[in-house]
Symmetry: C2
Subunit: 193 residues, 2 copies
């Protein structure tokens, strides 16, 4: 990679980061987690591998950064003013994101390897601890508005994401938009009764 | 394996079947799905491999039989007289079963390989099509008793199993008995409101 004065600016650095993270996800889809390496990702991104070793250290750290970034971009936290609309938007975006080849590959890797590789287990649990807290803001705002009684925000997120994840990864039944909306409505009716 | 007159009776045949299915699950935990073979299972079970080829044909058919049998034995369909108690018993048994090393290994194999191997995808979908129908009887009886309005029974089963599966396989948060009961109660409140 050619050195240039621009390289040190935030813009250039952010661009390199985005290129590397996208290369990580694309490489995972192509070669699988077993064969995934910082060297292979560097080659794909057209970046010197020492940059990756210096910045991320391990492939697990890089992939965690990649899925966090993807979720941050593709699954923003809605603020429509009602809990129902916020949850419907969140679930729609989360499930659309899960259905991309890159994210689906990451999730399936996490599920199959977490029991055997502690670095993968740590990656998965770091992602979800943060993500449930971030998503939970929707529920906290609804509690503050008096829409629902106080409840563990993370559990509400798990209640609306659990059934579509279960369908997509386990039973294989079709995940339609009607199903997503019905799941949110069932949880909301439960919370309000 | 020595031939004997007893071999042809149902009792002996059922015993061989149980030995082979248990050997299949134990072998999966030990060697992983990649290295799993009818030959290895036969050796472990102390049964001639031609018996396995004749009876099951493929390792996928044998493993499907093994998880069906395990679920049939360990997750019986309760009939307590109320939907709440039936669902709580079902979810407790299903999650206890999922937490055994054998079943957890099968589920993780299904999730990681189903997108790439159609024989695995067929195995998973056969299992769940049958299992949701079997479990759904609980919901059908509740509808007949007038406990809840008509609803797709499979969706109710997915609504109560989805969140604990999500915790166990995805977020890694603790699956306590309180959480299982709260999940059932949330779904029931939703169905009744």
């Amino acid at each position: 990679m050619a050195e240039s004065p621009v390289r040190r600016t935030g813009g250039r650095s952010a661009q390199v980061r985005a290129t590397v993270l996208n290369a990580g996800l694309a490489e995972l889809v192509d070669v699988g987690f077993h064969a995934l390496s910082l060297e292979g990702i560097a080659k794909r991104a057209g970046v010197n591998k020492t940059t990756l070793y210096r910045r991320w250290g391990t492939r697990e750290a890089l992939m965690l950064d990649a899925v966090r970034e993807r979720a941050f971009t593709k699954v923003p936290i809605p603020d429509t003013g009602t809990l129902r609309d916020d949850l419907v938007e969140l679930v729609r975006a989360a499930i659309a994101n899960l259905q991309t080849p890159e994210v689906q590959a990451m999730v399936r890797v996490g599920i199959s390897l977490a029991p055997h590789e502690s670095s993968v287990a740590t990656m998965v649990s770091s992602f979800w601890t943060e993500r449930l807290a971030v998503d939970g803001v929707i529920v906290e705002r609804a509690i503050d508005r008096g829409e629902i009684a106080p409840v563990d925000p993370g559990s509400v997120i798990e209640a609306v994401l659990g059934p579509p994840y279960f369908r997509l990864l386990i039973t294989g039944r079709p995940v339609t938009d009607d199903f997503l909306v019905a799941t949110v409505d069932l949880v909301l009716s439960g919370l309000r009764s």
